[in-house]
C-alpha cells in the first residue's frame, strides 16, 4: 500500500496506551483537496491520530502516509508541507505575538513575508502584545496564522476554533474556503458538529479510539430525522399526518404540532397545503442527533 494519491492514508494505525485508551486499527483515507472533519468526544483519539501523522508519537502498529510520504521515514518532508495547529496550543509566554511568529517563521524557513503580513492583518493579531497578556482566542489566532503562513498543501488542525469569537470564526472559515479552492487539503478535528458541518465535505466519527463511520455530510443528512414545528389556524389534521409513510412521530399541543419525519418532505408539504397554516419552522439540529447516536452507541 502507498499513499501517493491520497493526502492522508492510514493502514491499521494503532496507538495503544493501555487500559483501552488510544487509537485502534484506524483505516482512513483523505483525498487531496478534501476537507475532512474528524469528530469525536474528548479522549476519542482525534489528537492522537494527528500526532501520529506528524511523527510526534509513534504507532504501536500500522502505518500512515501523508502526501505520499511514510510518516516514520519522511517526517521532516511531511512537516515541511503541512500546517499544524495543535490542540491546547502553547506558546512562549515571554515573547510578543510578533516575536513568536518570527521565531516560527525562522524555524520553518522560506515563509513569504507578504503572505504572513496578510494573515496577521486578516486575523487582527496584536503583534506587540506579550503572549502572556493575550486571551485564549488571541493566542489561537497566532496559532492559526503560523499554521497557514507557508501556504501548506495540507492543514492538520486540532480544534481550530477553540476560543475564537464568532467574527474570527467567520474569517477562519473564509480562509479555509480560499485554501481549499486553491487545492489544499484540510484535516480538521472537532468535538462540535456545527463547525464540521460548516466546512467539511466528509466527516469521520471516532469513538473510544475506533473509527465508527466515514461518510459525506450530504449522506449523513439524508439519514437524519427532520423535525417541523407547525402552527395551524384550526384543528390540526393529526390522523392525516400520522398516516403519511415518512412521518415517524406527531406531537400536538392545541394548534401547535411537532412532526418528526425521514426522507422527502414533499408528501407532508402537500398535506399541509390543504389546511390553513399560520407558521412553520424546521429544525436543523438533526445531524447533531445522528452524531450523538454514534457517540452513544458504544456506551450502551
Amino acid at each position: 500500500m502507498s499513499g501517493a494519491r491520497a493526502a492522508i492514508l492510514t493502514d491499521g494505525l494503532t496507538k495503544d496506551y493501555g487500559g483501552g485508551r488510544g487509537l485502534f486499527d484506524l483505516d482512513l483515507e483523505v483525498a487531496r483537496g478534501e476537507v475532512l472533519g474528524f469528530l469525536g468526544p474528548n479522549g476519542a483519539g482525534k489528537s492522537t491520530t494527528m500526532r501520529l501523522l506528524l511523527d510526534l508519537i509513534r504507532p504501536t502498529a500500522g502505518r500512515a502516509w501523508v502526501l505520499g510520504f511514510e510518516t516514520r521515514a519522511a517526517s521532516l518532508e511531511i512537516r515541511r508541507r503541512v500546517g499544524y495547529l495543535p490542540g491546547d496550543l502553547a506558546l512562549y509566554l515571554k515573547l510578543t505575538a510578533g516575536q513568536m511568529l518570527e521565531h516560527l517563521a525562522a524555524l520553518r524557513g522560506g515563509v513569504d513575508r507578504a503572505h504572513l503580513n496578510t494573515l496577521v492583518e486578516r486575523f487582527a493579531v496584536e503583534l506587540d502584545r506579550p503572549i502572556a497578556d493575550l486571551s485564549t482566542g488571541n493566542r489561537q489566532k497566532v496559532g492559526l496564522v503560523q499554521a497557514f503562513m507557508h501556504d501548506p498543501e495540507l492543514l492538520i488542525l486540532d480544534e481550530p476554533i477553540a476560543g475564537l469569537d464568532p467574527l474570527v470564526q467567520q474569517s477562519f472559515h473564509a480562509l479555509l474556503r480560499e485554501v481549499t479552492d486553491g487545492g489544499a487539503t484540510v484535516f480538521l478535528s472537532s468535538h462540535t458538529l456545527s463547525e464540521v458541518e460548516r466546512v467539511a465535505d466528509r466527516a469521520a466519527i471516532l469513538r473510544a479510539g475506533r473509527l465508527v463511520i466515514t461518510e459525506s455530510l450530504e449522506r449523513l443528512r439524508a439519514q437524519a430525522i427532520q423535525r417541523l414545528e407547525i402552527e395551524f389556524a384550526g384543528s390540526p389534521p393529526l390522523a392525516e399526518l400520522r398516516s403519511l409513510p415518512q412521518v415517524r412521530e406527531v406531537e400536538a399541543n392545541h394548534r401547535h404540532v411537532n412532526i418528526s419525519f425521514e426522507g422527502s418532505a414533499d408528501a407532508i408539504v402537500k398535506a399541509l397545503a390543504r389546511h390553513e397554516v399560520r407558521a412553520i419552522r424546521s429544525h436543523d439540529d438533526d445531524l447533531e442527533r445522528i452524531f450523538l447516536r454514534y457517540y452513544r452507541e458504544g456506551e450502551q
Binding site: 510526534l56 508519537i57 512537516r79 491546547d88 502553547a90 512562549y92 521565531h103 516560527l104 496559532g143
Partner: protein, 260 residues
C-alpha cells in the same frame, strides 16, 4: 534550523544567567573585601583531609586559599551548575511539559537539531556566567589586595564553565530522554552532589580512590586552577563528557513519543 532554536533558547535563559553571574560578582567582591580583616585571623583550618579537600584545602590564610574556599569550592560551581541544570531542563523537558515542543516539532526541524540548538544555548549561557564570574574574581582579588595571577583566575572561570557544561549536559540527557523536568533537575543535581562528595571522600579510602574519576567535580577542582592554571586534560574530559551526553540526549529524544 539550529540557529533559531539556539537564539531563542539563549535569549530566554540569558537573564537568569546574568542574574546568577551578578550574584557571583557580589559574593566575590564581599569575599575580597573581607579577606584583609578576616583571612589572616582564621589561617589554615585543621580539618580532616576529605572535608578540607571539599573546602579547597581550607587554607584561609592566603588569598588563593581564601578564594578557593569561598568561591571555587562551593559557591562558584553551585551557581554555575544550577544555571546550567535549570536551563537544560527548562528548554527540553520544561517546554515539553508546557506543550510548546508539540508546536515546534510540527515545523521542519529534526529532534536532533532541536537538542543541539538547546545544548548550544545552555553552553553559551554557562559560558556567560563563567565570564561574569571571572570579572567578579578579578574584582574580589583586587579588593583582597591581590595575590592570584590573572591567568589563574581565568583558569578557574574556564574550569567553572566546563563544569557547568558537564552538569547541564546531565540535565539535558535526562530531560530529553524522559520529558520530565523534575526528574532532569533532581537527577542532575543528585549526580553533581554525589560527585562533589565522592571527589572529597573517595581518595580517603584506598580501594575507592578510583571512584573520583567518575565525578565531574574531580575534573573541575582536582587540578586546582587557582594555583596551577588550566588543566587542559581535565577540561577536555568535562567537554567530551558534555558532548557525549548531548548525543545521548538527541538519541533518547529521537526514540520516544513526545509527552502531553
Amino acid at each position: 534550523m539550529i540557529r533559531p532554536v539556539f537564539a531563542l533558547a539563549f535569549r530566554l535563559r540569558a537573564p537568569a544567567a546574568v542574574s546568577a553571574g551578578a550574584g557571583l560578582v557580589a559574593v566575590s567582591a564581599i569575599a575580597g573585601a573581607l579577606f584583609p580583616a578576616v583571612g589572616h585571623t582564621i589561617g589554615k583550618l585543621d580539618l580532616p583531609r576529605g572535608v578540607a579537600d571539599l573546602l579547597g584545602g581550607a587554607d584561609y590564610g592566603t588569598v588563593a586559599g581564601w578564594f578557593n574556599g569561598e568561591i571555587a569550592s562551593v559557591y562558584g560551581p553551585l551557581v554555575v551548575g544550577a544555571v546550567a541544570i535549570t536551563a537544560a531542563a527548562a528548554t527540553t523537558a520544561g517546554e515539553e511539559e508546557n506543550r510548546i515542543l508539540a508546536l515546534l516539532l510540527g515545523h521542519p526541524v529534526t529532534r536532533a537539531r532541536l537538542i543541539v540548538g538547546k545544548a548550544a544555548a545552555m553552553a553559551l549561557g554557562t559560558a556567560l556566567v563563567a565570564a561574569i564570574a571571572w570579572a567578579g574574581l578579578e574584582l574580589g582579588v583586587a579588593l583582597a589586595g591581590g595575590g592570584i595571577a590573572a591567568r589563574n583566575q581565568a583558569a578557574l572561570a574556564l574550569h567553572l564553565g566546563c563544569f557547568g557544561l558537564a552538569t547541564g549536559a546531565v540535565a539535558l540527557a535526562l530531560g530529553a530522554g524522559t520529558g520530565r523536568r523534575g526528574l532532569a533537575v533532581a537527577g542532575a543535581s543528585g549526580f553533581t552532589l554525589a560527585g562533589y562528595l565522592i571527589a572529597g571522600f573517595a581518595p580517603l579510602v584506598d580501594g575507592l580512590a578510583w571512584l573520583r574519576y567518575l565525578a565531574t567535580y574531580h575534573y573541575y577542582s582536582g587540578h586546582d586552577p587557582l594555583a596551577n592554571g588550566v588543566g587542559i586534560a581535565d577540561c577536555a574530559v568535562l567537554v567530551l563528557f558534555a558532548v557525549a551526553l548531548t548525543a545521548v540526549a538527541a538519541a533518547g529524544f529521537e526514540r520516544r513519543d513526545l509527552r502531553g
